[in-house]
């Protein structure tokens, strides 16, 4: 790095004999600390599932299993029905993602490019919902889902109880609208002269240009629904249809699960998110950084 992008401590200070030693020591210590603190617990979870329940609970603990029991993962998948809950969660996440995209892209497109009367009032109302703490709306939202006004239907224990409230995502609409705003209107006007309808403008011009922002919105939508706990806990109480998070919490409370099986369940539940992170690390961390700088 050149001195142009220097930070708190200058390159020269770090190179000098003394500075170099301190730098090496701090770097090494931090690396060890990070491995122990952030990777360590995950290692313990994945490897712990291979141990017997007794070995997993013993003091002093063992770093590696004395005997490997990979079948614990299969037991968890089948006997604890982790497989079923994973499928449930994937179904809720993908369905929710699709509905969020359809609803929020259409709304953001209307607000950005079609600009109807009272459009800014609608946008203001949507953004105002960012101010509403989710927790404070939990009880009335639950009752609303139990009996949806106007339609009078009960969505409890159906995927729609997750999907429809999830589509009311002001953050998505804000991010999408801001991106659509940057697409020049001339581009749409010239296509519009050729007689392309509103939908075709969206589908053939706006969406192909919006791939990066669609990717970010999609990743965060999937992560969000995979991590959600309290809302599915309330609206999906039927054990058959529960998400993996809620099912793990319920299984832990029954006390009929051995510790190694539970570790296997926790590890399996984490795999999709860790894989997602490994693939999209850059998008996720940069998306977060951009959020920090722009607010």
């Amino acid at each position: 790095m050149s001195s142009m992008t220097r930070s708190l401590i200058s390159e020269a200070d770090l190179r000098r004999g003394h500075g170099r030693l301190i730098y090496r020591l701090v770097l090494g210590a931090m690396a060890v600390a990070f491995v122990l603190m952030f990777i360590g617990p995950l290692y313990w979870m994945v490897i712990g599932a291979f141990k017997t329940p007794i070995e997993l609970a013993q003091t002093p603990p063992t770093i590696l299993p004395t005997e490997w029991h990979p079948e614990t993962y299969l037991d968890a998948w089948n006997r604890l029905e982790i497989g079923r809950y994973m499928v449930n969660t994937a179904f809720y996440a993908l369905g929710g993602w699709l509905i969020q995209l359809i609803v929020d892209v259409a709304a953001a497109y209307a607000l950005s490019k079609l600009r109807p009367v009272l459009g800014n009032v609608v946008l203001g109302g949507m953004l105002a919902s960012l101010m509403l703490p989710a927790a404070a709306l939990l009880v009335p939202a639950y009752l609303t889902v139990a009996e949806v006004p106007i339609f009078g239907v009960n969505l409890l224990n159906t995927p729609w109880a997750l999907w429809l409230p999830g589509a009311a995502n002001a953050f998505n609409i804000y991010v999408l609208k801001r991106f659509f705003d940057q697409i020049p209107n001339d581009l749409l006007d010239s296509a519009g002269i050729d007689g392309a309808g509103r939908f075709r403008l969206l589908w053939h011009i706006i969406l192909p240009l919006s791939r990066p922002v669609l990717a970010v919105v999609s990743i965060f939508a999937i992560i969000g629904s995979w991590k959600d706990f309290i809302w599915p806990l309330l609206v999906l109480q039927d054990p058959e249809g529960q998400t993996i998070s809620v099912a793990l919490s319920r299984l832990a409370e029954t006390g009929r699960v051995t510790n190694n099986e539970m570790f296997a369940g926790l590890a399996i539940a984490s795999i999709p998110m860790v894989v997602l992170f490994m693939i999209f690390q850059r998008s996720i961390l940069n998306g977060l950084s951009a959020g920090a700088l722009k607010g």
């Binding site: 001195s3 142009m4 220097r6 708190l8 401590i9 200058s10 730098y23 770097l27 931090m30 990070f34 952030f38 990777i39 313990w44 979870m45 609970a57 013993q58 003091t59 603990p61 359809i102 259409a106 709304a107 209307a110 079609l114 109807p116 459009g119 800014n120 609608v122 949507m126 919902s129 960012l130 509403l132 703490p133 989710a134 927790a135 404070a136 709306l137 939990l138 009880v139 009335p140 939202a141 009752l143 609303t144 006004p149 429809l164 589509a167 209107n185 519009g192 509103r198 706990f229 309330l234 809620v246 793990l248 919490s249 926790l266 539940a269 984490s270 860790v274 977060l288 950084s289 920090a292």
Partner: protein, 320 residues
């Protein structure tokens, strides 16, 4: 930010004028009007699903929550208006003060760890010329996990008899603890797992902020003979003030809604760790299915958090 840009309005009017069609000025105006109505109808067709979702699941619950807090509703007969009875009942509940104090304790401790530690970590990582990617990856890894995974995993670590933490502590000759089962350590245990699971986000955001500080500022400070500590105080912190304030507000709002840690680790009935959200959950879903009291408590929480949220939005939107 919702102001319609003048050039777009002009473009729309131009568009309608173009197809105004032949005929007198009256019919042209009619055609333009019809066109305008058509445009609006089309726009609202695109907006319809969004409006419905927001209306039903965001705006209506807000209204419903306020209504509910003034009603007694058994969901069989018609609800009865009870004025401020629900609020009175909530205030008279001996757990009211406990829940708020516990929540404040959690938020306070969470800020102590979760606000300062990520800043220091980011400050150090930002100086590294190697392995920055690894540090960013590692610190954010727990944030990716489903929260219940972190909490359940730590529940095993905290186990006083068979847990990893006591095994390590006794291994190095330190006193062990009952962690979540000890009245003194229960809240701290919740804060520790919550901080572990969440501090990656703040660290990444601080790193983004630090990367944006112009190097000339440090250069100039160093030429003036400022020590490292002085540079942090007079360059880094003033430059980071905005991000720090935003993250502070975000963390206050997030930690005051704490639920999953006390729900799973210490249970909804443990007086040491009953938080506001746990109490709302108990009112509505466990003890007496009293949605009126739950709604009243929610409105109180809403008022407190709404103030912080409004401040946060004001700050960030202004910077836009």
């Amino acid at each position: 930010m919702t102001v319609i840009a003048p050039e777009t309005t002009a473009a729309v009017t131009r568009g309608t004028g173009r197809d105004g069609g032949p005929g007198g000025p009256g019919s042209a105006r009619m055609a333009r009007l019809r066109r305008k109505i058509g445009d609006n109808v089309q726009a609202y067709i695109f907006l319809a699903a969004g409006l419905l979702c927001f209306g039903l699941f965001s705006w209506w619950p807000l209204v419903k929550g306020i209504i509910l807090s003034f009603q007694q509703d058994n969901f069989v007969t018609d609800p009865i208006w009870v004025g401020f009875d629900n609020y009175q009942a909530v205030l008279d509940d001996p757990l009211f003060a406990t829940a708020w104090l516990n929540t404040l304790e959690f938020t306070g401790l969470a800020l102590l760890f979760g606000f300062a530690v990520p800043f220091v970590l980011a400050l150090v990582i930002n100086e590294f010329r190697h392995a920055k990617g690894f540090f960013r990856f590692a610190v954010y890894l727990p944030v990716m996990l489903p929260p219940i995974v972190s909490v359940l995993l730590w529940q095993y670590f905290y186990d006083p008899g068979t847990g990893l933490f006591n095994a390590i502590l006794s291994g190095v000759g330190l006193p062990t603890s009952d962690w979540t089962q000890s009245p003194k350590m229960a809240m701290i245990s919740l804060v520790l797992v919550s901080t572990w699971a969440n501090m990656g986000g703040a660290t990444i955001m601080y790193l983004a902020g630090l990367a944006g500080i112009p190097g000339e500022l440090y250069e100039a400070a160093e030429l003036d003979g400022a020590s490292v500590w002085q540079r942090i105080r007079h360059v880094t912190i003033p430059q980071m003030r905005f991000i720090m304030l935003v993250l502070l507000l975000l963390q206050i709002v997030a930690t005051m809604q704490v639920f999953i840690e006390p729900y799973q680790l210490t249970g909804a009935t443990n007086p040491e760790t009953i938080t506001v959200m746990i109490l709302i959950y108990r009112y509505a879903f466990t003890v007496n299915n009293d949605f009126g009291m739950a709604a009243a408590m929610s409105v109180l929480l809403f008022i407190v958090l709404g103030a912080f949220s409004a401040l946060y939005l004001r700050l960030t939107r202004k910077a836009d």
